[in-house]
Amino acid sequence: MQELINGLVSGSIYVLFATGLTIVLGILDIPNFVHGETFMIGAFTAFFLVAGLGVHFILATIIAMLIVAVIGVVVEKISFKPLRGAPHVTLLISAIAMMLFLENLASLLWGNYNRTIDSPYTKQVVSFLGSTVSSQRLLVVLMAVLLIIALQLFIKKTKLGMAIRAMGQNPEVTQLMGVSIDRLTSFIFALSAALSAVAGSFLGSLFTLNPHMGLEPLLKGVVILVLGGMGSIVGAIVGGLGLGLVESYTAQYLTSAFKNSVAFLILIIILVIKPTGLFGQGGDQH
């Protein structure tokens, strides 16, 4: 039971993280490796709001989302906009440059030690289906579910969401329909960065945060992307929760030392059997 809850909690953080990664890759065709760093900055912003200004955890998370959304737009303008249409490898290296820059800037500014975001719910405990869980963990799962539902509704029901879907299918025609590609790209980056910031803030409240926390979720996000298919939000949900559960059960019953290897072993087996990913839809033209 405890494994199920652990898996769901880390799974929902993965889902939030991977959704942001997948919309940028699926719609804009950009491998945004800076995602791990916006995740880290989101966690630090929430931390400083809570620890420095005494803001409530939920409010701090929302403010962090807004601030990091702006950072996401700036990252897009600096690292990706000048290279629009370049091959994946070039974009990837540009992202790696930004990633190294932000990571090292953070470690210069804030120091290389672990912190934890204080939340009023951490110490409260509820009993749930026969085992005890802290309310903070329930809150994380609940908010993840709400955010993902809201995102799905937004993309499926609103006009802006329609523009985003259209752009994923055919950017040129979308532009002909009167949509500004530049502004839409910025918006998608803002959305994606905001999602990574929530994930960061949640992770920082449950575990610890430090300037180098971005790499591991990035690696996991890559696995989820392949498991769930590039650009598919439903795929990111299934992949994220699946990965969370697999990790939680292997940590319990096999070993926790090879946690990352298990994820990547699954990825390699899937890609070897089906070289374009589970729900592969191209993506290998580059």
């Binding site: 994946h88 070039t90 540009s94 440059a97 990547f264 070897v272």
Partner: protein, 345 residues
């Protein structure tokens, strides 16, 4: 290739090697020597990636893991079994090449960004094995006291490798070997086949090139170079721990290849000079080193996406072609030059 050009190529090579051999005498200093040795090792590692990325067009992010395999195999054989470096070095190189060959079969079925992700995964798995297989690798504590290469006895004198200067010549010899192999690959049918696969795999197939075979060869050579680099690294530093062979090592190699220009024989050398030596020059501000590194990388990829080597090459050919405009119309040498320039990019 005409006789004259062949001779020129040889002369260039000989001058370059002589310069490299004299470098420690010109520059001197144990710290400079250390940088030279480390640079040579990085060039070998990056040259492996250059073959798979620059020539074949496959982005491998598992370079760090292969580097580690070479280092661990050689170090373990030397420390646990007491074998001589001259046995462990070829063994470690062969073992890494063999691993690349075996892994290559399933992994090379994937393409593009999927290949990058599978190899990234391989790198992560290898680094977790180094970290967690405590019984063999001693985990994060690492393996220490790796012996220097055993002295070679020449009868009248013996060459010991416990000093930096002799080790530099050893590493330089390995580097020259790697450069010659790469040059031969680039200039022969194999290299052309690889470039054809990079440009258009399907089209290459219609010309009678069987892509899986050539990709396997490229991946095996790439692994062999990485293994050799790892072995040279282990016996120089004499202490290895998993953190040297993680994802960051793969990223470093990638950055070197791309900044120096992927698909050029001298690309990795140029990339290494910039990315190892320039931050080294900024050591007085060591906490800003990684920031500077990131900025250099960002600027290069933004303004010279083909890499520095290519930009320098283009600049040089512009200067040369200004002089040779008349030649281009008369003889074949001018247009031939252009073709070669196009291949190099």
């Amino acid at each position: 290739m005409t006789d004259r050009r062949l001779r020129n190529t040889w002369i260039t090579w000989i001058i370059a090697i002589a310069l490299l051999a004299l470098l420690p005498i010109i520059l001197g200093g144990s710290y400079i020597l250390h940088l030279l040795i480390i640079s040579c090792i990085w060039i070998i590692l990056a040259q492996g990636l250059n073959i798979i990325l620059g020539y074949t067009g496959l982005l491998s992010l598992g370079q760090g893991g292969m580097f580690g395999i070479g280092a661990y195999v050689s170090a373990l054989l030397a420390v646990k079994l007491g074998w001589s470096f001259w046995i462990t070095m070829p063994l470690a190189t062969t073992a890494t090449a063999l691993l690349g060959f075996i892994i290559g079969y399933p992994v090379l079925r994937t393409r593009g960004i999927y290949f990058a992700m599978v190899t990234l995964g391989l790198g992560v798995i290898l680094s977790e094995i180094f970290n967690n297989w405590i019984g063999v690798t001693r985990g994060p504590m690492g393996i220490g006291d790796i012996p220097y290469p055993t002295p070679i006895n020449l009868g009248f004198t013996s060459i010991a490798f416990d000093s930096k200067i002799t080790y530099y010549y050893l590493v330089l010899a390995a580097l020259i070997l790697v450069m010659v192999v790469t040059y031969r690959i680039a200039k022969t049918t194999l290299g052309r086949a690889l470039i054809a696969i990079k440009e258009d795999e399907v089209l290459a197939g219609t010309f009678g090139i069987f892509p899986p075979k050539f990709k396997i060869i490229a991946f095996t050579v790439c692994s062999a170079f990485s293994g050799l680099a790892g072995c040279l690294y282990a016996h120089y530093i004499t202490f290895i721990s998993p953190e040297s062979f993680g994802v960051m090592a793969s990223i470093d190699a990638l950055v070197i290849v791309v900044v120096g220009s992927a698909g050029m024989v001298l690309g990795p050398a140029l990339g290494t000079i910039i990315l190892i030596l320039v931050p080294e020059a900024l050591r007085f501000a060591s906490e800003y080193r990684m920031l500077v590194y990131a900025v250099i990388l960002g600027v290069v990829i933004m303004y010279m996406p083909q890499g520095l080597g290519c930009s320098i090459g283009r600049l040089a050919s512009k200067i040369v072609s200004g002089r040779r405009v008349a030649n281009a119309y008369i003889g074949t040498s001018g247009s031939n030059q252009n073709l070669r320039g196009a291949n190099g990019s």
